[in-house]
């Protein structure tokens, strides 16, 4: 018993910050439980949300989780910037600092960006292609619950103590048991593995959805650009995640079962991990950026009231980027001694990616050229993206230059570069998409004035934070450094950087306030087409009914909804009361939630090496697979009368 307690609460947990976090979490949980019980909402929560297979609701849950994780990862960032604000600071201890930069990176990549992207997939893609759901609705829900339980598992490591501390890349030999005892790394390995399974399933799901469930007439070259980038992102996920699965599994075998994959002795090689990790990791950065490229294409075209310029070059650019992304992974370790020939090959293949990306940047600018440009918040993010990403891309080419990399490697120059592209590209894109599709999803707009405050605080704060870090990199400050002394000239740039970070944090607070404010007072979207949009989702009411399209539209051109509006054919989306057919829709299921739970139980068992718990979880997974296999009753019919009633109340019946 005492060893159990020691495992659950290692000595470091007595640190004040964890204790206050624990108290806060317990109080919040108690408040949530009280509210749900007081207002009898447990049944509602279970029926409408936890068991749902509706892609729109799953998208909303992904979005909530991503924003929560953005907060969690953002607090980590502010703690780090607080620690680095002044020299010789001891606000955080060195080990604590290690845990914080590890969880910051891991959460921002795996538990913030990925679910945010999947939120956009779920919220927009079926509506954009004229489908009633994704190809595999139940699998979609399973993906979500695997992610959700994995994120939960990763986060409780902070509460019970023993967070991972080897960086988001988790390189051996530091992650080997001999150098990193305790359960921290186990949390990392299991949580990423479980959410990775969910990500692969999402990739399969959207690949098939986009290839096979488009409305009649929507050929590949008539798909909206976001659908295109999501298609190649899904393909990237399929090909990128298996090497990660293997790398994580081998680390786990080393730690839990005493194998020798990455040990220094017995023929093991840490570099094996590094190769496998970046064979995943480099395509992963395109998994993170390509959906945002798609969002910018939609947003820029809509708010310029113009067709996207150079559509087919956009398509070929993303395909080229996808292919090239697999030939670049070695640039993550130029300094590890592969030799000049190998390094130059990967240096050139890296720099080549700037060409298709540059083409895309020009296409967005030419889309605006001569257009009637409006600048709501969604468009502001797209406009801010262009110069920001150009700087990030240029510094990426600098890092790709092998000889230069020997100077920049693992310095703050690198940190500045990847935050420059990940925030300036991925996060700006996701925020643009969120503001753009928010009225479609929830039926009300986010407040524009507060959105501008959020935008300017975050955007200016971003530049103040990361530009000094380029300088710090040149001045020799390395990444993951927990404190520094005076006399290097690092003090002022670090202080400025910290001020910028807190500006970004202030922007986030405004954003959260604006969600609450807009929910109560925001402009309701009664037309379904608040931005005068171009693609099919804007032909639907906001929020769309459960079955999305009462009648599946027939597409004859790119920007299908815009063309319908130009030709005064918008009434084709309305139904004639006499020819309403019943619609078959997937039925809610408790299996996805229970599947996530079973993986969670199994994962916790593995983390603490409580084998009977691990076996219990594994048996649960197998049992749920079998139960699912025997369940033939997974669809239900929505009656014609219900559809007529719904469509009538939305004012969408003819005559």
């Amino acid at each position: 018993m005492s060893s159990l307690l020691a495992q659950l609460f290692p000595p470091e947990t007595t640190r004040g910050m964890e204790l206050s976090a624990d108290v806060l979490i317990v109080l919040t949980s108690a408040a949530i439980i009280y509210v749900l019980t007081r207002y009898h909402k447990w049944g509602h929560l279970w029926r409408e949300w936890l068991t749902t297979v509706d892609h729109k609701k799953i998208g909303i849950m992904y979005l909530i989780a991503a924003i929560t994780m953005l907060f969690r990862g953002g607090v980590d960032a502010l703690l780090m910037r607080g620690q680095l604000a002044v020299p010789n600071n001891h606000f955080l201890g060195p080990l604590h600092y290690d845990e914080i930069f590890t969880t910051h990176g891991t959460i921002m990549i795996f538990f913030m960006s990925m679910p945010f992207i999947f939120a956009m997939f779920n919220l927009a893609i079926p509506l954009m292609i004229g489908a009633r759901d994704v190809a595999f609705p139940r699998l979609n829900a399973i993906s979500f619950w695997l992610f959700a339980f994995a994120a939960f598992m990763f986060n409780i490591s902070f509460v019970v103590g023993g967070s991972p501390n080897a960086g988001w890349t988790s390189y051996p030999p530091l992650t080997e048991l001999a150098f990193n005892p305790g359960v921290g790394q186990n949390y990392y390995l299991l949580a990423i593995q479980i959410s990775g399974i969910g990500s692969i399933a999402t990739g399969v799901n959207f690949l098939v959805t986009i290839l096979k469930m488009r409305a009649p007439g929507m050929t590949l070259m008539r798909m909206p650009m976001f659908v295109w980038t999501s298609l190649v992102t899904s393909a990237l996920i399929l090909f990128a995640f298996p090497p990660l699965t293997v790398a994580l599994a081998m680390t786990m075998l080393d730690r839990l079962f005493g194998t020798d994959f990455f040990t220094i002795t017995h023929g093991g090689m840490p570099m094996m991990y590094v190769n496998l990790f970046w064979l995943f990791g480099h395509p992963e950065v395109y998994i993170l950026i390509l959906p945002s490229f798609g969002i910018f294409s939609e947003v820029v075209a809509t708010f310029s009231r113009k067709r996207l310029f150079g559509y087919s070059t956009m398509v070929w650019s993303v395909i080229t980027i996808t292919l090239l992304s697999y030939g670049t992974w070695v640039h993550h370790f130029f300094t590890m001694g592969a030799g000049p020939g190998v390094n130059v090959f990967f240096g050139i293949s890296t720099m080549l990616i700037a060409i298709p990306t540059g083409i895309k940047i020009f296409n967005w600018i030419f889309t605006m050229w001569g257009g009637r440009v409006r600048t709501p918040v969604a468009m502001l993010w797209a406009l801010a993206f262009i110069p920001t990403f150009v700087v990030g891309g240029a510094t990426g080419v600098m890092l790709g230059a092998v000889v230069g990399d020997y100077q920049f490697h693992n310095s703050y120059f690198l940190i500045a570069h990847f935050h420059n592209v990940l925030i300036g590209g991925t996060v700006f894109g996701l925020l643009a998409g969120m503001y753009y599709w928010w009225p479609k999803t929830f039926g009300f707009k986010l407040d524009e004035r507060q959105g501008r405050w959020f935008f300017w605080l975050f955007f200016i704060g971003f530049w103040i934070t990361f530009m000094p870090q380029y300088a710090l990199g040149f001045m020799g400050m390395t990444r993951r450094m927990y404190t520094y002394t005076t006399g290097y000239g690092w003090s002022l740039p670090n202080l400025v950087s910290t001020i910028g970070a807190f500006m970004m944090g202030a922007g986030f607070v405004v954003f959260v306030y604006s969600i609450v404010y807009s929910y109560k007072h925001g402009e309701r979207d009664l037309t379904g087409d608040p931005w005068d949009g171009r693609t099919l989702e804007w032909s639907l009411p906001s929020p769309p009914p459960a079955y999305n399209f009462a009648r599946i539209p027939v597409v004859s051109d790119r920007d299908a909804w815009w063309e319908m509006k130009q030709h005064n054919q918008t009434n084709v989306v309305q139904l004639n009361p006499n020819d309403i057919q019943p619609i078959e829709m997937p039925k809610s299921s408790s299996i996805p939630f229970l599947m996530g739970l079973a993986f969670f139980v199994g994962g916790i068992g593995m983390v603490f090496e409580w084998w009977w718990v691990a076996i219990l979880g594994a048996l649960g997974v197998v049992a749920l697979l079998i139960i699912g296999s025997f369940d033939y009753n997974d669809h239900e019919e929505i009656h014609a009368e219900t559809i007529r009633h719904t469509e009538a109340s939305l004012g969408r019946l003819q005559g």
């Binding site: 190809a135 595999f136 699998l139 692969i200 990739g203 399969v204 799901n205 690949l207 098939v208 290839l211 096979k212 469930m213 399929l238 090909f239 995640f241 298996p242 090497p243 699965t245 293997v246 790398a247 599994a249 081998m250 075998l253 080393d254 079962f257 005493g258 194998t259 020798d260 994959f261 040990t263 002795t265 017995h266 023929g267 093991g268 090689m269 094996m272 496998l276 064979l279 078959e584 197998v622 079998i626 296999s629 025997f630 033939y632 997974d634 669809h635």
Partner: protein
């Protein structure tokens, strides 16, 4: 849940499982899953190839470890099971439930013989203290071959549930789709085994 494909396809030679749009979607999805599984094995093969080249550092060598007798038996059992699995699909395509079930059962038995032989081989190695703690080569060997073996074991459980569903429901668009997906999976495992036989056992014995 049956959404028929275009009526003109109804009377042609389209197999039952492809006559329903939702079911044929699932087959495409399964192909995509197989692609990821193929990459999983590719990664494991790459790991194995590298560690095999470093085998001199500690532990036994492939030539000392492998016994071709049981491996040949495993190969014959698995390749035959792939054939019997094909026969099950053949019977299914001719709408013969009994033949489908019988050949699936034979497939399961051959698969079980494969797994049993592999487990006894592994136990023999472990009895000689040739475990995966000894060297990176052994870690890679047990992981690659064991991953394949656990896939086969999972396939056996899957096929048993399919037989129960076939006996309960007969040949429908859904059950035939499930059998067809299982057949894809089983042939895929056979292909992986051919690679394991060549890369691991044959080259291990020769080099």
């Amino acid at each position: 849940m049956n959404v028929p494909i275009e009526p003109e396809l109804q009377n042609t030679q389209v197999p039952l499982e492809f006559t329903d749009q939702h079911e044929s979607l699932k087959i495409l999805g399964f192909w995509a899953f197989l692609a990821t599984d193929f990459l999983l094995f590719s990664s494991l093969f790459a790991v194995y190839a590298v560690y095999q080249s470093r085998v001199g550092m500690s532990g036994p060598t492939p030539a000392q470890l492998f016994h071709l007798g049981p491996v040949l038996f495993e190969t014959v059992a698995l390749l035959t099971s792939s054939f019997t699995c094909g026969l099950a699909v053949y019977e299914m395509r001719h709408h013969r439930l009994k033949g489908t079930v019988i050949w699936l059962a034979v497939t399961i038995l051959l698969g079980a013989a494969f797994v049993a032989t592999e487990i006894s081989e592994f136990l023999g190695d472990i009895a000689l203290h040739d475990t995966w703690h000894h060297s990176a080569f052994l870690s890679a060997f047990f992981t690659l071959v064991g991953t394949h073996g656990s896939h086969v074991s999972f396939g056996i459980i899957w096929a048993i549930t399919l037989i129960i569903q076939l006996l309960g429901r007969g040949l429908t668009t859904i059950t035939t789709r499930k059998v067809y997906m299982f057949a894809l999976y089983w042939h895929f495992l056979d292909i992986i085994w051919v690679f394991i036989f060549t890369v691991v056992y044959l080259s291990g014995k020769i080099i």
